[in-house]
Symmetry: C2
Subunit: 429 residues, 2 copies
Amino acid sequence: MRVLGIIVEYNPFHYGHLYHLKEAAKLVSPDYVVAVMSGNFVQRGEPAVIDKFARTEIALKSGVDVVIELPLIYSIQDAGGFALGAIGILERLTAVTDIVFGSESSRADMLEKIADITVNHSDELQEKIRKGMKKGLSFPNARKVALKNLVKESKLSLEPSVIDIIENSNDILGLEYIRALKFYNSKIKFSCIQRVGAKYTDENFKGKFSSASAIRKRLEVSDYSVLDFLPDESRKIIQREFDEGRGPVFYEDMSLLILGIMRSMEREDFSKFYGFVEGLDKRFFEFSRQASSIRELLEYVKAKRFTFTKLRRLTLYPIFKISDWLIRESNTFGPQYARVLGFTQKGREFLALIKKKSLIPIISTPSLYEKVLSKALSSKEKPDFLKAELYVEQFKRDIMATNIYSLLYKNPEYRKGERDMKLQIIKMI
Amino acid sequence: MRVLGIIVEYNPFHYGHLYHLKEAAKLVSPDYVVAVMSGNFVQRGEPAVIDKFARTEIALKSGVDVVIELPLIYSIQDAGGFALGAIGILERLTAVTDIVFGSESSRADMLEKIADITVNHSDELQEKIRKGMKKGLSFPNARKVALKNLVKESKLSLEPSVIDIIENSNDILGLEYIRALKFYNSKIKFSCIQRVGAKYTDENFKGKFSSASAIRKRLEVSDYSVLDFLPDESRKIIQREFDEGRGPVFYEDMSLLILGIMRSMEREDFSKFYGFVEGLDKRFFEFSRQASSIRELLEYVKAKRFTFTKLRRLTLYPIFKISDWLIRESNTFGPQYARVLGFTQKGREFLALIKKKSLIPIISTPSLYEKVLSKALSSKEKPDFLKAELYVEQFKRDIMATNIYSLLYKNPEYRKGERDMKLQIIKMI
């Protein structure tokens, strides 16, 4: 049995995603396709443009058999944390045999070598990165420079120039996926598919080959004609969501909430949350008072050594009460559950097959999350990674994320909360 | 020298307020008129319809010589706390000789007798109130019933029927002002003026005799023609504020902030803030998830024993981090400073006269609040009530209130914070 695992956000689902799915299927010929997908908040530190339920529907109509939610605590972390969560779920289901990810370089071999270096020369690398950041480099840049120097100095069997391939965001993610596979001592095989069309970060609209960023940018100025350049199923469902007033949802819609919370915080309150270090507590404290919008806030706080994406993620941490403890525990013990958002007929078969094998408790009915935990804890084969408090804290944040996200719908009717508890699991059968 | 003290909200300033000012002046013939005015949030638990700076201007153009801000911690408390703050400031300035308040009954003598009963029979009364509330009565109703029974049982020289006069909100406030005067052992004389026109709570529009509620209700449905029924100075300034996009501001504008904060709170988090007792923590926790707006939230939480006003105030406490400690200390030691929002030429004279006599430190330049504190603390006549931490905590909340209020302006340009620090004191000279 071959099971393909993919890690996605589908924000929104476009032809590039469809291409990836098809090519990955060609490569692996899987019996089942399992996707781990960011929930209502994505790695760019933003709410997804349509909610996780609609994005699940699209995925299931496009070739995915089971959609599992990447817990919030991982979906709004940097590439390393994001990968640790996503790979953790795929690994702990125990049945996934292959992972295929998109890549600009399409050099899985090189990415693996680099991953090995980062693991085997961890201390040296950390030291070099720290120095680079002290000079004002952002973490991604500092790491690139550090890796290059490491390769150069240590006469490893790599040309320093190959490090250039981790310039691009998909390659960076790919590198982190490989590192995460090593973290879990996983036997899952991985390969990559060259991305076609626009770069992830290319915000120019290019028809069917536009990046998700470019599409969102159009939606942000209410140009809904871009939907015509999305695969049919994606377009139809997104259109329905918009018609019902459940989107598009944008980061800017959170302005009052983010600025309001920050303006009611004293400087020392910021340090209760993860990541407000290196003067970021002071910067956010002061600039949240000065800025007239969150866009302005980010511009004021921005410095060479922080990427916008990182800063945007930080603005969510006080809302979701993301503490150092929660990040540290989550990145030590990995994801604590697999919450199923939806499945096809084949997906149902797959879930039945893994039900007893999965190391990670599977949540199909969110309101029963405590029962699922009790059962897992009392099981003879209770896995070492499972920590009751961590499980609860991770899961509560997914519920919280949906409750906050609902407030951003244009149609007030849908702003009622607890959608996770009220909506049925999505079945395409 | 006679100095008239009044306690106001001017939300917004209407003919009833003008009438009160003129009648009070006839009664007292004051050399100076000092108003203690709620800042950006008022006793109904709402943002004021226009900001405190504009309302100060109107007051100064209408016969008030000095406007002092009632600290947030008092302006969003129940009638008792509100009175304790306002009377505390007037008393501690040391120069106020007379207080005149509006009243439905206009029976200052009766109000004083009732106040005496509440002070002299405090324990008995508390016990009766507690019982009434256990039966499901709201605090105001439970107190009324308790007072009636107390009068009946104890054969005091009062007819139980006179207690009926504390049915109305101005009489209730009046009663609390008198109780507060007794709390401070004040020598200030008080009297009351019968209210003309609509009742405070009458929401029907009655032209020049409309209540502030009725006017706000019209503004809420964008009927700005009501401004024609306001005194000239009030109308002009309010019109200017609206034209510049600084109002009208409504409670509903806070929906995302209030629901967002509550949805990110666990049930136990509510008890960190004042007043979430008697199951209100549970009710707010649960209903904040279910409601689609704050209006709906209040309807869901509402029960016979809680007034809407009380519930609305509660929704502000998590934003402004109003703790039991802060309420208790504030109501024990009283207001810690008098922050001057504006003055006329005469007001300037008055401030010069009291500068050395005032028991309470006077803040004219908000950015210098720490210096004002240091000076007061090192003074030979440092008053017993002055507590450094309390002073800072009270003042920070006034600044916070303005920073939150600014986010509610329609024109994004004015959403920049720290208006307290940036705007000059308002001088009508």
